[in-house]
């Protein structure tokens, strides 16, 4: 495998890891506050559709992005209402959101555009274009560093950089601010937060809202960055993979980056069976490669990767005790 191929695979890794990373950080905020969210998938899907649809109609991807974020946050609000205000079962609420999104997106797309549940192909300003970082062209010819900078680091869409910047930002908010301290506390022992005179409900809604915002970005990237339009079920289980990555990452932002890059790498490899064959010397079935990220998900969710301690109050609605 030559150097340029490696750069290409890593480049694909970053692009494929971005929606996972954004969704994973979304789940991180929610679960750190004690609200389990298996509805990441549904929120991404809703945002992917709304972003693409509104971008197609208005011709502006930014307007589309706002619509996508709005849709994801609305679903997050439903999840919050069910699991925080009405103290319902968080898993069931999440599943309901996934079904709702899977069905609604296709139905609405069909009645809106009549293209078999798709949105029209997007181009120009209706998509996120790539951003060339300064001097990319100038230093491309420098050996080693040149291609790494020009082809791997530069030339991604805006949301890729947003996703990468979210990692240190999440870390900072969580571990260096008052909000973060309270958020982590409410996921571990809401009674401690309540007796300190802080609103458990308020904090949890804030966390769920952030989750909606980030899944909104993740979905928007899928349909307007990675692809050029919405197709049925285009999230393809990424919400669940993000959850697996979150557990793998032990609910920590930097680990989350690592876990998502790993999953992204596996997905990138699946796109390049020729590279695998070149490296290993024999052919590996494409189906097996495609399945790899999902197999890893199952392995992680089954708890084979060390002991991960989830937030102690996760999944439990908070009820004041007597």
């Amino acid at each position: 495998m030559d150097f340029l191929t490696l750069i290409q695979v890593f480049d694909t890794t970053i692009r494929l890891a971005t929606p996972l990373l954004l969704a994973c950080l979304a789940g991180l905020f929610s679960e750190r506050a004690g609200i389990f969210d298996i509805g990441l998938e549904g929120k991404m899907l809703a945002s992917a559709f709304l972003t693409a649809a509104v971008a197609a109609v208005t011709g502006s991807v930014l307007v589309g992005l706002l619509a996508g974020i709005g849709g994801a946050m609305a679903l997050a609000g439903i999840h919050g209402l069910a699991s925080i205000t009405f103290r319902g079962n968080q898993l069931i609420s999440g599943v309901a959101i996934n079904f709702l999104a899977a069905g609604l997106t296709v139905v609405v797309a069909q009645s809106w555009f009549g293209q078999g549940g798709r949105t029209p192909q997007l181009s120009g300003n209706a998509r996120f274009g790539t951003i060339d970082l300064p001097f990319a062209a100038e230093i491309r010819d420098i050996p080693l560093l040149g291609p790494i900078y020009a082809d791997l680091i530069s030339g991604h869409s805006l949301l890729v950089y947003v996703g990468l910047l979210m990692v240190p930002l999440t870390w900072y908010v969580l571990f260096r601010t008052r909000f973060g301290l309270r958020l982590r506390a409410v996921g571990e022992n809401p009674a401690a937060v309540d007796t300190a005179g802080i609103s458990v409900v308020g904090l949890r809604y804030a966390a769920v809202a952030i989750c909606g915002l980030l899944t909104g970005l993740a979905g928007a990237y899928l349909s307007t960055g990675l692809q050029a339009g919405f197709v049925k079920d285009m999230t393809a289980g990424r919400g669940y993979i993000a959850l697996a990555a979150l557990i793998f990452a032990k609910w920590r932002p930097w680990y989350a980056l690592g876990a998502c890059l790993l999953f992204g790498f596996l997905q990138a490899l699946a796109l390049r069976p020729d590279v695998i064959e070149g490296t290993l010397g024999f052919e590996v079935g494409v189906q097996l490669l495609d399945a790899l990220p999902y197999i890893l998900t199952v392995v992680i969710l089954a708890g084979f990767v060390g002991r991960a301690i989830p937030p102690r109050a996760g999944g439990e609605p908070y009820v004041k005790e007597r």
Partner: protein, 533 residues
């Protein structure tokens, strides 16, 4: 003293939960710079009253006056602003946060954490020096013992400038040495001018530390007296509403043949932690062996093994015949058939099915006996008649076998379990925390039943974290610490101090021991248990 303004004055507080009147027209004056005890049975309404004062509930009627000013306390934040701090029975700490983070949580100075933490670190140092509340600010809560955790709760309140400190059943989880230390801290706080409200059901604590005591019964405040002018029997009578025997009356034991022999009993839990470290003891007929110890030192595992629902290695013989510890017959049913009755420590999870009716609960474990069955079917009429008879003999109130178990009070629930187990004429009774969450009247009754069983020539293994209970019921006392039996004593030849040292894992009890030493020992065991986990 009467010309002073009370630190807290409650006027006519009432609170109902549905049809249950938890607090009825309660008025109380708590003077500044005193330790004011509130005593009452479980369900007397003490905790509800304090929750109202701390803004957890809103009273249906009544007024709260703090330092002579009428104060509305709609939420905890308002209580904190009014200078009221609360140390709950179950600590409200975040386990994987440091001491410092727990203290700061909710009382931060700005959006950024760093300056808040630095300020708290300085203030903790001052507070530690002032009140003998030494603690490592960077230790994680999950790594420190309960005594330390309680100090963190007190520090939290003091950090929020609390002048009035409410402690709800603070000694329930402490060793005697830790409780003594707590009392010294509280006296220190009082001498610095803080006002302390101590909620408890333990008469000894009231007598030892309070200046004034108020007694609650069934939601009402029945009396407020100066502690120096009252006595434990008088307080007990005020609490229960009738005369109560505080000391169990029993004749000297007449031990017979050995009923239970335990040798080299070893238990390793699912995390690989050794919970019982090859212990051995025996109990004879007509004898009560009391196992003392702080909760979590292997007593629960011992009961579970003997009760047949935890696997173990070693030898256990009942009446000379070995009991299976790991095989197919290591189950509760086989144990019952062999003559072992078991009143488990946790009646809600192990002793009863709360949603099932009392008559079903009275039959559990014995429902396959021939007298309860007609061919393939259960003879419900026979079971109900049996349950009704047992409930009457044990004075379970209300005497309705059809009522679900959850609708009985703690004491009556416990009577149901005890009736089920004792009335089957077992050779060995295992009984764990027989009076946890049980009111004084029922405690008296249950104690009498245990002693009566022993006088009938049965063997009793009693596990309790209440040292008073162990001291008054046992014929012999074994103390457990960290999965080992630290020693056996006769109740007449020992005292709380000696047992307390054994409970902290210190065997050379003749030497004087500093508190620091005891604490260090407890912390070490805590840390090692964690590491193994």
């Amino acid at each position: 003293m009467t010309d002073q303004t009370p630190a807290i004055e409650l006027k006519g507080i009432s609170k109902a939960f549905g049809p249950v009147q938890a607090n009825k027209d309660i008025s109380i004056r708590v003077m500044p710079g005193t330790i004011h005890g509130i005593i009452g049975e479980n369900g007397a309404g003490k905790s509800t009253l304090m929750s109202i004062l701390y803004g957890f509930y809103r009273a249906d009627a009544g007024e709260i006056w703090v330092d002579g000013r009428r104060t509305e306390i709609p939420d905890s934040q308002a209580a904190i602003r009014a200078g009221i701090g609360m140390v709950f029975q179950h600590f409200k700490l975040v386990q994987n946060f440091s001491v410092l983070e727990n203290v700061v949580l909710g009382a931060e100075d700005g959006a950024m954490l760093r300056p808040s933490l630095a300020k708290a670190r300085r203030e903790l140092k001052d507070l530690a020096a002032e009140y003998e509340l030494n603690i490592d600010p960077d230790a994680r809560i999950e790594d420190i013992g309960v005594g330390m955790q309680q100090r963190v709760e007190i520090l939290k309140a003091l950090y929020r400038q609390a002048d009035i400190l409410i402690l709800d059943e603070p000694t329930g989880v402490l060793t005697p040495a830790e409780a003594d230390h707590l009392f010294r801290i509280l006296k220190g706080l009082r001498d610095q001018g803080k006002t302390i409200i101590l909620i408890t059901h333990k008469l000894r604590e009231i007598m030892e530390i309070t200046d004034t005591v108020s007694v609650m019964r069934r939601g009402e405040m029945t009396a407020t007296v100066q502690t120096a002018e009252t006595s434990p029997p008088e307080l007990a009578e005020l609490m229960v509403g009738r005369k109560v025997l505080l000391q169990v009356e029993k004749v000297p034991p007449k031990p017979g043949k050995t009923v239970l022999e335990v040798e080299n009993l070893r238990v390793v839990d699912s995390k690989g932690v050794e919970r019982l470290r090859k212990i051995g003891f025996e109990i004879r007929a007509g004898e009560i062996l009391g196992i003392a110890g702080v909760a979590g030192n292997g007593q629960s595992e011992l009961l579970e093994v003997l009760g047949g629902y935890r696997r173990a290695e070693g030898t256990v013989r009942l009446n000379g015949k070995p009991l299976e510890l790991a095989g197919r017959h290591a189950n509760g049913r086989a144990r019952r058939a062999a003559g072992v009755a078991h009143v488990p420590e946790d009646r809600h999870h192990e002793g009863l099915i709360l949603d099932f009716s009392a008559w079903e609960n009275v039959a559990f474990g014995y429902h396959d006996r021939p007298e309860f069955n007609k061919g393939l079917f259960m003879d419900n009429a026979a079971i109900k008649a049996d349950a009704a008879a047992k409930m009457e003999r044990f004075d379970v109130r209300p005497p309705h076998p059809h009522l679900a178990a959850k609708n009985f009070s703690g004491g009556n629930q416990q009577k149901i379990v005890v009736a089920r187990e004792i009335e089957r004429n077992p050779d060995l009774l295992l009984i764990g925390q027989p009076t946890r969450g049980v009111d004084i009247g029922a405690i008296e009754f249950i104690h009498e039943q245990i002693v009566a069983l022993r006088d009938m020539g049965k063997a009793v293994l009693l596990v309790s974290v209440e040292l008073d209970e162990i001291m008054s019921l046992s014929d012999r006392i074994a103390v457990m610490f960290d999965g080992k039996i630290m020693g056996e004593r006769l109740p007449a030849e020992t005292d709380e101090r000696e047992l307390g040292l054994l409970m902290a894992g210190i065997t050379d009890t003749d030497k004087p021991h500093s508190e620091a030493e005891i604490e260090a020992n407890l912390a070490r065991r805590h840390a090692s248990a964690d590491k193994e986990a």
